[in-house]
Assembly symmetry: C2
Homo-oligomer: 391 residues x 2
Amino acid sequence: MRRVAIIGGGHTKFMFNSPQSGIEMLAEASMDAITKSNLKPKDIQAIYCGNVLGDFSEGQGMIQSYLADDIGCFNVPASRFEGACASATMAIRDAFMWVASGHYDIVLAGGTEKATAMGTSLATRTFAMFSDGRYEYPSGINFPGIFAMLAHLYSSKYNIPLKKLKETLALVSVQSHFYGMKNPHAQFQKEITVEQVLRGFTVSSPLQLLDCCPFSDGAAALVLASEDVAKKLTDKPIYFAGVGQASSGKMSAQYKYLPRLRAREVSVKQAYDMAGLEPKDIDVCELHDCFSIASLIAAESLGFADFGKAGELWEKGETKIGGKIPINISGGLKSKGHPIGATGASQVYDIVRQLRGDLVDEGRQVEGAKVGLVDTLGGDGVIVNLILKAD
Amino acid sequence: MRRVAIIGGGHTKFMFNSPQSGIEMLAEASMDAITKSNLKPKDIQAIYCGNVLGDFSEGQGMIQSYLADDIGCFNVPASRFEGACASATMAIRDAFMWVASGHYDIVLAGGTEKATAMGTSLATRTFAMFSDGRYEYPSGINFPGIFAMLAHLYSSKYNIPLKKLKETLALVSVQSHFYGMKNPHAQFQKEITVEQVLRGFTVSSPLQLLDCCPFSDGAAALVLASEDVAKKLTDKPIYFAGVGQASSGKMSAQYKYLPRLRAREVSVKQAYDMAGLEPKDIDVCELHDCFSIASLIAAESLGFADFGKAGELWEKGETKIGGKIPINISGGLKSKGHPIGATGASQVYDIVRQLRGDLVDEGRQVEGAKVGLVDTLGGDGVIVNLILKAD
């Protein structure tokens, strides 16, 4: 298979109540990605889109065809992927394969979501359909509930008193807001304190408001190209080094393994093995912090800390720029925002900019970063990991 | 790229009001496909699923993860594709690429839909969201309306009086029911007459009840394998010879080209070119007959008749077994049924059986069929074509 590079990206502002439709947001991000790649829409041979709630929130399914037509990519193959929050990462992994195989030379991949118009409460209930709809969601469990239970389990399994765990979790959110403040695309651009997190109202005990990411509206897109093409179009191609994906059943079926998610461990191993790399080789990581506890759980399965010990990374500042493993320097889902079907593309967009060294002006460049890891969790059932590498 | 074969398939009965869930139906079809391929679930390396209305009709998105877990394909990558009616064909084309590239050796692809529980009226309105949701569907246009307008345009553009066109269209439905009667998976297993079609109530003029396919519940699945693996597992591998996919914008944006669908002509050319074949080389075809007029429109763009002349194929019996190009010998969407996200997999399943020569006992074998064409239209925006070939 051929080497595949990301040669350009586009990213809308993430926000509450965007005046644009999901298709319009993705059109904006896509046109930015195409233009920054020194291409025109007619150069795009295929499109891969993530989107989850379009039919519910806007009465528009199958966004990919209309997107293709709107941006002038007439009659190209356009596919929509749905893997809950991991939809766009899934789409990007798939786009990678169509270029790696030699079938296409230049493709567009991204995602979009308009999740806020229905309000947080209805969005939470609606999105619960992307967990198990037979037993778990009908019994009243939604994603805040799932991650709250994982937090209790984490506390119990690793003998960390809940009060201590909550203080550690607060540090996760505080760091995310610190960097989100520097990211012009972020929904929340303000610093918060540990005290504010701990004084927030309880969403689902022990998780409080500032332990939870918001729903957001937004889109992000990337242009992928074969190595030969990439080298002609940019002097900073960022290559796929490894990809991984795995799934799991409903949360209750995973009880023997929780709070670890086996799918993540399976997926990231695929990516590491394909890249011939180990956790210590990763210079910067965007991981799926839908809730603060999710960051600890992810960091451990990705290999950055022993199980039960990830909190120390945040406590010691190892997840900041200059630390052992800078994590979510974009602000993460917590501060940057979480437009479900766009989130994976946004993570990839930020890692690409880190590896290109483009973030100096924003004051959040991980100096000398050459290898980045993307981690997206879709519902409780899908993990996609991508390892990207500068030459 | 490597040659890829379909080595086994599974197919539920298509019906109104199935007692099974979408996941359960796809589990049944998948286990049949895996068993008939002389494999076990643990041999499946990845899963590719089509599904459209699962969240609306069952409150269950992201079916693929739960399906994978339910059938014992633990932690494999599982992706959901949504391209309206073409979702499963899109998933299968994608699965093909992951095997052709050399990344996987054995994968499962299919689709499922539980579309009838909400009733035909609500399903029609819900499914209209998979047309353009900005201008067309809010103005009252749904799919019966779109195809009714195409019938008027066809009549006008090709100077075929509407009365004459309706009689020809009736022949399309009559033939579909003739063969559907022989297909044990079909939803409608009874013959109908031209008089019954013409006496039916009007759904959207000029289309009457028996010009329209039903919504259905059902699932179908296929196992794909690399050539080397396929030859060890079956003595009748059916190979992918060509694949194509294209998209288009909203129906009104296509006005200069209608009633021809440019996306279909772009897509099928990709498939023919890749296979090095022409329309005259196709021995049997399953095409997307969501409405009787859709069959004429498809047959022309696929190259089986001059534009405006496809009606003659049905009038002269050329679309029957023994004719020039046998079409929809499964009963088509009209008689076999149309479980939206499963339909493409069902079409592929039937073509595979034709090319294996497995349909003698059902009295609908196209003798000596070696090359088959699959055509699926998703909404008004996606076309996927697959050319399959026996050795």
